[in-house]
């Protein structure tokens, strides 16, 4: 067991993959000597050289497009997109090419590309640096979308993403980069499968589903609810596509109430998909409508008002109150 931050855990996970898989390589803007703007790739260029830790030209479509070409040649590229709001220049390569090449080739070609994206708000940043675009990618068949919320998962999930033969978008909760946690580098344990949800807190009265940066918020809300005598279950989704509906369904069948929280706008978001599926699968078990807590239908607001925008403990508790009032 070792204690490390999420950023360090990803760094160590990348190091482990670069060591075990000679065909893996990292590419992105400023990831070499600088170690990335968040230092997630810190020190790796010294260890593996500039052919495997590649400082690219400043061109996101170019990063993903050339990564696809490298994958077609048998490599396992891991791209870093510097910030969530800068992934859009690569959107065409991700959705029309990366997601479809396996299908287009009737399964003959695989493109095991990983795209790391620091995402989400809460850090007082300027425009385009606080967004949560995961639903845009989850809507695209052919991609897998995962997001760790703790250091142990971060260490193992990045390695599993690199091993996966499908393209994986790896959303990193940037405001939790410095959150420390225990990492077992010997045993993945429950992290073995990056596409399964985890029940991270058991309860009986209601279920809160969250992922990435909001998992600690959901846990804090659940703890606060105990003061009112409520027993709240919390699920860390971990994977957004595929989405582990079985785990959510089992929990809802136990608690009868479901809150879904994410930073992304609720309209057209992952919460709506979960609400629809759960209403199909567990309609007669639901004591209340599924309630979503998320961003408003607006461009991510300026930093000084982002607290009003972001889901927090109070907003989740308010949603719990509404659910429990039914």
């Amino acid at each position: 067991m070792a204690t490390m931050t999420i950023a360090k855990a990803i760094n160590e996970g990348l190091r482990a993959s670069l060591t075990s898989n000679p065909k893996s390589l990292l590419m992105g803007e400023d990831i070499g000597h600088l170690g990335g703007v968040y230092r997630v790739t810190d020190g790796l260029i010294k260890e593996f050289g500039d052919e495997r830790v590649v400082d690219t030209p400043l061109a996101e479509s170019g990063i993903v497009g050339t990564a696809i070409g490298l994958a077609l040649r048998g490599y396992s590229p891991v791209c870093e997109i510097q910030f969530d709001g800068f992934v859009y220049p690569a959107f065409n390569q991700i959705t029309t090419q990366l997601a479809k090449i396996h299908s287009r080739s009737l399964g003959k070609l695989t493109v095991p590309v990983v795209i790391r994206i620091p995402y989400g708000g809460g850090i007082g940043s300027i425009e385009h640096h606080s967004e949560s675009p995961e639903a845009l990618f989850a809507h695209t068949a052919g991609l897998r979308i995962i997001s760790p919320s703790n250091a142990h998962d971060a260490y193992w999930m990045i390695q599993k993403a690199i091993e996966c033969q499908d393209p994986v978008i790896f959303f990193e909760p940037k405001r939790r980069y410095w959150l420390k946690g225990e990492v077992d580098v010997e045993n993945a344990g429950l992290s073995e499968d990056p596409f399964k949800a985890h029940v991270v807190r058991e309860g009986t009265d209601a279920t809160i589903v969250a992922y990435g940066p909001l998992v600690p918020v959901a846990l804090a809300a659940a703890n606060a609810a105990t003061e009112d005598g409520r027993s709240i279950e919390v699920i860390d989704l971990r994977s957004i596509s595929p989405l582990d509906f079985d785990t959510v369904e089992a929990s809802v069948k136990k608690t009868g109430r479901l809150i879904v929280a994410h930073e992304a706008p609720t309209f057209g978001g992952i919460g709506g998909e979960i609400a629809a599926r759960i209403s199909e699968r567990a309609f007669l078990h639901l004591e209340a409508p599924v309630i979503r807590v998320g961003g408003f239908h607006m461009p991510y607001p300026v930093a000084k008002v982002e607290e009003d925008y972001l889901p927090d403990i109070d907003k989740i508790l308010e949603a719990l109150d509404r659910s429990l009032a039914y």
Partner: protein, 394 residues
């Protein structure tokens, strides 16, 4: 021009003689060896490369150009008869494709756009496979690894980046292995229209930065559907290479000998580690953009007629006849071969199986995916409902 390890004098000669150095308003140089009159000229750099082409190879060039033109006619007819949803004709661009395709080696990898039927022919792709996409039964039937010929890419210029990444992979392979694999390069095909796409710019930036072994082969066929090249660029497209720091050459795209010579030079340049090259093959799309297009809406027939005078097959036929390199029997045989190919394509098209959508479920992901499994199970149950209805009805 950027690199310094060219054969002695080549770089200087290119700068002096090719289109590379032209500025707006200056006359544009173009490498041409075989003129429309069927006479073979000379070029200070590329005549040496043209000399490698023996008469048998010239006859192969002619045969392939004639075959792919016949294939193009047959495919257009198949579309007109409702057998294909769409066809993308290449007529007029045979020399650009057959010449460049033949310059590639088996270990080279080709990224076509969607009109490179001639290159597919040279790379031994079963031409019936190309038709699957246009009949709506597959988005790309062939295995790209068998012939190192990638699937057609319909989103313009996306493949130019894949080509550069693939070339970066070749560079790394050479360092990873101590095998004696022949050195390889990549060709990225695109057109004058696609040259405006940002991905072309990014691909050239990446290729230049990493000195990637890639040849950008731009067929300037003068029309991006209805928009002329002048709207895409104010300078000869080959000149753009200069801005990235690698050689750019405009070649007469209807001259199969010059296209072959220039592409062979460029591929050797790339394989030897001297970096990327841009070739602009100056040619013309004689027919429509696709069978859904109507060129009479946007261009003069006189322009088409002028380009027909520069036909790539006619000029090679003249040369072969004048030089006594091919007789009447040869041309009769070529025609017979073309008809045979057309017959094969027609019969194969009729026989193309309509796939089962279960195959689509199976190829979305390489690894197991619960949503795919769930939706497939639903589809099976739903379909089975119709079957049991039928049983009841019977």
């Amino acid at each position: 021009m950027g690199s310094t390890q060219l054969p002695p004098g080549t770089e200087e000669t290119l700068a002096a003689t090719s289109a590379a150095a032209a500025a707006p308003g200056e006359p544009v140089e173009m490498v041409q060896l075989l003129g429309p009159d069927g006479k073979l000229g000379t070029d200070p750099v590329f005549s040496d490369y043209a000399k490698r082409i023996d008469p048998e190879k010239l006859r192969v060039f002619y045969t392939d150009m004639a075959r792919i033109r016949r294939f193009d006619q047959e495919s257009t007819a198949l579309q007109r008869q409702g057998e294909l949803a769409l066809w993308v004709p290449l007529t007029g661009q045979e020399a650009a494709q057959i010449g460049s395709g033949h310059a590639s080696q088996p270990q080279d990898y080709i990224f076509p756009t969607y009109r490179e039927h001639g290159v597919a022919l040279v790379r031994n792709v079963d031409l019936a496979e190309l038709l699957k996409q246009f009949r709506g039964v597959s988005n790309g039937g062939w295995d790209p690894r068998e012939n190192n010929f990638h699937l057609y890419t319909l989103v313009l210029a996306a493949q130019t980046l894949h080509a550069v990444g693939y070339a970066m992979g070749i560079q790394r392979d050479q360092k990873l292995s101590d095998s004696n694999d022949p050195k390889a390069a990549v060709i990225a095909y695109f057109g004058d229209g696609a040259s405006s796409e940002g991905d072309v710019h990014e691909s050239m930036v990446f290729a230049a930065s990493y000195n990637a072994p890639v040849v950008f082969f731009c067929q300037n066929n003068h029309w991006a559907i209805s928009v002329p090249t002048e709207v895409q660029t104010k300078v000869p497209l080959a000149n753009r290479a200069k801005g990235y720091g690698f050689p750019g050459i405009r070649v007469d795209g209807n001259d199969v000998i010059a296209v072959h010579a220039v592409t062979e030079w460029a591929l050797e340049h790339a394989r030897e580690g001297r970096g990327p090259v841009l070739i602009e093959a100056y040619t013309y799309r004689v027919g429509a953009h696709t069978t859904a297009d109507d060129p009479t809406k946007y261009r003069e027939s006189a322009e088409e007629a002028a380009w027909r005078e520069k036909d790539p097959l006619d000029r090679l036929e003249k040369y072969l006849r004048n030089e006594g390199l091919a007789d009447e029997a040869f041309f009769d045989q070529v025609k017979a071969d073309g008809d045979e190919l057309a017959k094969y394509v027609r019969s194969t098209t009729h026989g193309l199986e309509v796939p089962d959508i279960r195959g689509a479920f199976a190829s979305v992901y390489a690894e197991q995916h619960p949503l795919i499994a769930e939706e497939l199970a639903w589809f099976e149950e739903y379909s089975a409902g119709f079957e049991s209805d039928e049983e009841t009805a019977n």
